[in-house]
Amino acid sequence: MLVWVVLISVVVMLVAAVAVLFLKDFLAVTAAASVVSLALSVLFVALQAPDVALAEAAVGAGVSSVIFALTLRRVGLWKLETKKDK
């Protein structure tokens, strides 16, 4: 059971990490990077390090991806669609 959880999270992590390299859309890259952190936190739980897993999930998957997304917005790489543009 545990082997499968570890295997799935490792595969998800690797796929997301490769997706970060090859995706063209910046917002999608941010989402993929946060998936890497999420899978890594599952891996930390499997390695019996719940403290690190919590930190990874809260900071790696949560706060840092929000910071990335906001930065993209500020530097103009992610534009919001307003109703006038449509």
Binding site: P50, L54, A58, G76
Partner: protein
């Protein structure tokens, strides 16, 4: 050699060293067991009184490192605030979020506060603690801003909380210095391992850490969100 080649070379050397160390551990030496880790596992519950051993290392045995970590976070948040700059008073806000994010923000806010407070206050009993709970508190205060960007965070309050929490951490450390002779020495005895009110001054320290991290991250996120978007 240009910059790209040099950085690639440095990366390859670092990766090689890392793999070498891993292979050496795997095939040549046995993993080091015993030593300081086993010592801490054996003595921490009665010496410090925490059920969560990680907390006893973070706040008691290596409390000074945690103070350094807080300082790094403070400097990073301050630098980001300096770089981000001011917004002009007539700058446009982002448009209001839709119905789903609005209702989700209203529903999630109390639960996120509760979860963050639980993780901070039980830092000495269960996994988690000031840093993790602080990040969750910051998220709790940031989601409403995301839902309605025109209602800003009160930066004066968040900096006041941050300052008081940081000062409280150092004050508790100084009480330890004058009472027990060591900076950040645990006070008030250990209590009974596993109770909410145990482990002496460690829960107070974690409360200070959690409030500081939460206020700092919330301030940083709100600052990022308030800076003008150029579109």
């Amino acid at each position: 050699m240009n910059f790209r080649e040099i950085s690639g070379l440095i990366f390859i050397v670092g990766l090689g060293l890392l793999l070498f160390a891993l292979l050496k551990i795997l095939f040549v030496e046995q993993l080091v067991t015993g030593g300081i880790g086993a010592n801490i596992l054996a003595t921490a519950p009665e010496e410090v009184g925490t059920a969560n051993i990680v907390t006893s290392v973070l706040l008691a045995y290596r409390g000074l490192d945690t103070l350094g970590e807080l300082t790094i976070l403070f400097v990073a948040a301050t630098a980001a605030g300096l770089v981000l700059g001011q917004r002009s008073s007539d700058a446009k806000h982002d448009p209001d979020a839709g119905f789903i994010l609005h209702s989700a923000a209203d529903v999630l806010f109390p639960f996120l506060i509760l979860l963050g407070a639980y993780i901070i206050l039980h830092g000495h009993l269960t996994p988690g603690g000031g840093f993790q709970g602080g990040a969750i508190l910051a998220a709790a205060f940031f989601i409403p801003i995301l839902a309605s960007p025109a209602s800003p965070l009160n930066h004066r309050v968040s900096s006041a909380i941050e300052g008081f929490a940081g000062a409280a951490f150092i004050l508790i450390g100084l009480f330890g210095l004058f009472g027990k002779g060591d900076f950040l020495a645990p006070l008030f005895g250990t209590g009974e391992v596993g109770n909410l009110f145990s482990a002496g001054s460690l829960p107070l320290l974690y409360l200070a850490v959690g409030l500081k991290v939460g206020a700092e991250l919330a301030g940083l996120l709100a600052h990022l969100h308030e800076t003008e978007a150029n579109d």
